[in-house]
């Protein structure tokens, strides 16, 4: 819900372009996870983050705990990047993850 707010709610990208997704947190969180739900419904873990930055291929994610936000950057978007991206915050560090409502991404040729 509003404890983890994702933006934008939906996005359409031309293949080969770059974009950034954002999560803002109104709850205390020590860790953040990012997931991709593909069009078939399967959820895949992309990143687990403590404050800082991680990179994996064309994806890079940053978690800024002081300003309570996280970003997911997608570089050179490909058709297979399409799906819904979720961020989840570890509420007060007790492993109860609170999810945002997701960003629906469509990459078009």
């Amino acid at each position: 819900g509003d404890q983890v707010k994702q933006s934008p709610s939906a996005l359409s990208l031309q293949e080969g372009t770059n974009s950034a997704l954002r999560c803002n947190f109104s709850i205390a969180t020590t860790t953040v996870q990012w997931f991709l739900q593909n069009p078939r419904g399967s959820l895949m873990n992309l990143f687990y983050l403590v404050p800082g930055t991680k990179e994996n291929g064309r994806l890079k994610s940053t978690f800024n705990s002081k300003e309570s936000y996280s970003t997911l950057h997608i570089r050179d978007a490909q058709l297979e990047d399409s799906g819904t991206y979720f961020c989840a915050a570890d509420n007060t560090g007790n492993y109860k993850y609170v999810f945002g409502a997701g960003t629906r991404l469509k990459v078009i040729a």
Binding site: G1, V4, Q6, T31, Q33, F35, G41, S42, L43, M44, N45, Y48, V50, F86, A88, Y95, K96, Y97, V98, F99, G100, A101, G102
Partner: protein, 114 residues
């Protein structure tokens, strides 16, 4: 790769009936979770478990019970199903390394309560 298996994949139930959703993980993860996914809400935590014999209430536990009889199995039970419980349910297990935990999800169970 972590393997989390949910059954059934699809279920149609009648109002007032009992429904049991099953989840099995073969990776010896301590933590397991049940979420439901509804449009506009993302995933919401129903129950979770820290290990065999333990169940904890999540953020929306009303109308649900959970059972963790073993490390591998975690069930979600709807004693008296209602149409508002129509949703897609996901089970996850958590692999913890130091203070980090990565969630691995099953493929989901689509439940329709008529």
């Amino acid at each position: 790769e972590a393997a989390v298996t949910q059954s059934p994949r699809n279920k149609v139930a009648v109002t007032g009936g009992k429904v049991t959703l099953s989840c099995n993980q073969t990776n010896n993860h301590n933590n397991m979770y049940w979420y439901r996914q509804d449009t506009g809400h993302g995933l919401r935590l129903i129950h979770y478990s820290y290990g065999a014999g333990s169940t904890e209430k999540g953020d929306i536990p009303d109308g649900y019970k959970a059972s963790r009889p073993s490390q591998e199995n975690f069930s979600l039970i709807l004693e008296l199903a209602t149409p508002s419980q129509t949703s897609v349910y996901f089970c996850a297990s958590g692999r913890r390394v130091s203070s980090a935990e990565t969630l691995y999800f099953g493929s989901g169970t689509r439940l329709t309560v008529l």
